[in-house]
């Protein structure tokens, strides 16, 4: 879960990392008051969960409170990459002597957090690493031992930074590493970390991301920041389909279903599973010229009602003509239950299951029982002898050639090929 800049500021501040005196405002009048309190020139920054603020005009410099008010009014109305800002941050325009980068990220290969520091701040660290590798210091920290300041010092010293700069930056990077661990962040960055004219260091911007799995145990922090535990913080607003599938899933503890349709606009509804199976099948449909209307994941043996609810949501989507019901070989999920669910969905929506279900390919537990039901309703199905690629191809063929959907190929419907 990504945090807004104003929240990230608060997170670093409570870890005793100095920040400038800032104000988070949701109205232009508040921004004016914040600018008055700060005194002198200020920066107005749009609070959105997306990059490219500067380019989009979401960052303004104002010399007077009046200008701050005008700028804030504009920025508050400015949509950036499809996101409306939640507010603006009003920050004093700092007298910066030099900008640095301080960050802590996970290194999945080493399976340890990695400290990063650069004396070239304000720009993307990956860019610096590529163009000026000698200006980036790195060091891993143990997951089990306490984090010591010397570990931060060593990383900073690699970039050639010495003197009082080194001694002032060291505790900041060490504190950032401790907060990353304690708050279950997947990413904790201060960029830029600024050295001001008087030699002191302040975090001018911070970027924090918390692992979703850790949200339950970070409840106190989230409450302190005023974040509702249900707040999804997806990179986009969830659609009606996504909200409905989520509601069906949480209404029944048996099995898990998930649905997404952001970025999908096709005519073939996918009722598919499980994790890896869904990825494989979505690719297989697209590679063979199919246009998926959505993405789903079925797992953990859902009830008939849940499978039915999911299939109905997919069938109700605009532009969906048929659904393909497919999974990799299942051992936990029962084939017959999913078969009942999807047939029920068709019938309840007054659709012929044999016409609506382009293909049913779920091999595994209780398949004989499932296939019997499918046969009764004239649904084309197949077992493991038909690969996931081929099953996806058949679904695509049925939706692309209208003739195939009205007159079934002899032997294809209801047969189990190869067995």
């Amino acid at each position: 879960m990504r945090f807004y800049e104003y929240e990230s500021r608060r997170i670093v501040e409570r870890a005793a990392i100095p920040v400038t005196k800032y104000g988070f405002c949701t109205t232009a009048a508040e921004a004016r008051a914040a600018a008055e309190e700060i005194g002198g020139p200020v920066v107005i920054k749009s609070q959105v969960l997306t990059g490219g603020r500067m380019k989009a005009g979401g960052v303004r410099f104002a010399d007077t409170p009046e200008q701050a008010e005008r700028d804030a009014a504009e920025v508050l109305e400015l949509e950036i990459n499809g996101h409306m800002p939640r507010g603006v941050l009003v920050d004093p325009k700092a007298q910066v002597a030099q900008e640095y980068y301080a960050g802590v990220v996970w290194d999945g290969t080493r399976k340890q957090p990695m400290l990063l520091f650069s004396d070239m701040g304000g720009i993307d660290i990956e860019e610096v690493a590529a163009s000026h590798p000698d200006h980036v210091g790195r060091g891993h920290i143990s997951n089990l031992l306490p984090i010591s300041d010397f570990q931060a010092k060593r990383v900073i010293a690699q970039t050639g930074v010495s003197g009082s700069e080194l001694n002032r930056a060291t505790p900041i990077l060490a504190r950032l590493a401790r907060l990353m661990r304690e708050c279950d962040m997947t990413l904790a960055e201060i960029n830029p970390l600024a050295r001001l004219a008087d030699g002191s260091f302040v975090a001018l911007d911070a970027h924090m991301e918390m692992e979703n799995e850790a949200k339950p145990r970070q409840k106190a922090l989230l409450e302190e920041l005023g974040i509702d535990s249900d707040e999804a913080r997806e990179p986009y607003e969830p659609s009606e389909f996504e909200r409905n599938v989520k509601a069906i899933d949480s209404a029944d503890h048996r099995g898990v279903i998930q649905g997404k349709d952001h970025g999908f606009e096709g005519n073939l509804g996918l009722v598919i599973g499980a994790g890896g199976g869904s990825l494989t099948l979505t690719d297989a449909v697209r590679s063979q010229g199919g246009r998926p209307a959505n993405y789903t994941e079925i797992g953990g043996n859902p009830s008939v009602a849940k499978a039915c609810g999911l299939a109905k949501e997919v069938l109700r989507k605009d532009g969906v003509e048929k659904i393909a019901v497919m999974m990799s070989i299942v051992s936990n999920t029962r084939v017959d239950i999913v078969a009942r669910g999807v047939i029920k969905a068709c019938l309840e929506l007054d659709k012929d299951p044999g016409e609506t279900i382009a293909i049913f390919r779920i091999p595994g537990a209780w398949e004989e029982e499932g296939f019997k039901i499918l046969e009764r309703y004239g649904v084309e199905y197949c077992d493991r002898s038909v690969s996931m690629w081929e099953a996806a191809g058949r679904a695509v063929a049925r939706i692309q050639t209208p003739a195939a959907s009205s007159s079934k190929t002899p032997g294809a419907a209801g047969s189990v090929e190869g067995s």
Binding site: W106, G108, T109, K111, Q112, P113, E126, S142, N143, L144, R181, D184, T186, L187, E211, N212, E213, A214, P216, R217, E234, P235, K260, H262, G263, G273, A274, G275, G276, G277, S278, L279, T280, T282, D283, A284, R286, S287, Y295, E297, M327, S328, I329, V330, S331, N332, G364, A365, R384, S385, S387, M388, W389, E390
Partner: protein, 305 residues
């Protein structure tokens, strides 16, 4: 031969009285695995399909008279780290973590402690390990009769970030007459106990294994690590890779994760396109059609003869 498990391999199940664990214990016993004990704190004295339940790992060891080789951990995410620490400190050498949704920090702590004590972790968020016809450790392949249908003994080692796809791929290898030496569901999380590259030396040393198939997804650097391993080591084993989730490279899908927690793309190198390029550059073909895996393996095996 095989990797990780053998005929005499013994293990316990931590969290054995949970619903999923009860099923898993049944499946493993039916398959011929030696499940010698179970742990659920406060449930000492019970039995699960004839397997005695204890309060602590230490009690299992005392009761059976030796330290079992492994443990399958299937306890809720908030308690997993403690259970795994208990297993490691109890001298267990192979730990399969089934639990999903464990915070990364906990996983990293478990893995680091395992490294210090010479233990190995498979998972989390995985279905375990199977050596066809010999033993299975975890829910991999499902009930014994289903597992027998999908997994026949053979020369191919399988490693997969998806539990279900481990069985799907193994089933296609079995149907093609090839079969599997050992299949490992390595787990779908961003940080896991054993990556492809970390398991490669074991397969390398296994006389029965003649080729490797990996199932992979976007997210993380595990494939880059394998590509490096292959380039740095003169491996005798040809590898065939399958990459799912290519659609995630689309602009509209940016920042989203699908399927497994580990598919979250956190950097340029994590995308499907980039991974395919890296694997292919190290001589590992990346197959686009899942049904072409058996033939690709046969090609490779033919080439090594």
């Amino acid at each position: 031969m095989s990797i990780l498990l053998s005929e005499d391999f013994t293990f316990m199940v931590q969290g054995i009285t949970g619903r999923e664990a009860v099923n898993l214990t049944r499946e493993c016993l039916d398959y011929g695995s030696k499940v010698v004990g179970g742990v659920t704190p406060g449930r000492k004295g019970r039995e699960v399909h004839g397997v005695p339940v204890f309060d602590t790992v230490e009690q299992v060891t005392e009761a059976v008279g030796y330290v079992p080789n492994g443990s399958v951990v299937t306890v809720p995410p908030a308690f997993t780290k403690d259970a795994v620490f208990e297993a490691i400190e109890g001298g267990i050498e192979l730990i399969v973590i089934v639990t999903e949704r464990i915070p990364r920090r906990d996983v990293a702590e478990m893995v680091e402690l395992a490294g210090m004590r010479g233990a190995r972790i498979i998972g989390p968020n995985c279905l375990g390990v199977i050596v066809p016809g010999i033993s299975k450790m975890g829910g991999i392949g499902g009930p014994a009769k289903d597992a027998a249908k999908s997994y026949a003994p053979g020369p191919v080692g399988v490693m997969s970030r998806s539990g279900g796809m481990t069985t799907e791929i193994s089933s296609s290898l079995t149907a093609a007459g090839l079969g599997v030496s050992t299949a490992v569901s390595i787990g779908g999380d961003a940080i896991i106990g054993s990556t492809y590259a970390e398991l490669m030396p074991l397969f390398e040393a296994d006389a029965e294994t003649e080729a490797i198939v990996i199932y992979t997804e976007p997210g993380g650097r595990m494939e880059a690590q394998l590509a490096e391993w292959v380039s740095e080591n003169q491996s005798r084993l040809p590898i065939v890779a399958f990459m799912a989730g290519r659609f995630m490279d689309d602009e509209e899908m940016k920042g989203m994760s699908f399927g497994h927690a580990g598919t979250i793309v956190e950097g340029k190198e994590d995308t499907a396109t980039e991974k395919i390029a890296r694997l292919e550059a190290s001589g590992i073909p990346v197959i686009e059609r899942i049904d072409e895996i058996p033939d690709a393996v046969k090609d490779k095996l033919g080439a090594t003869v």
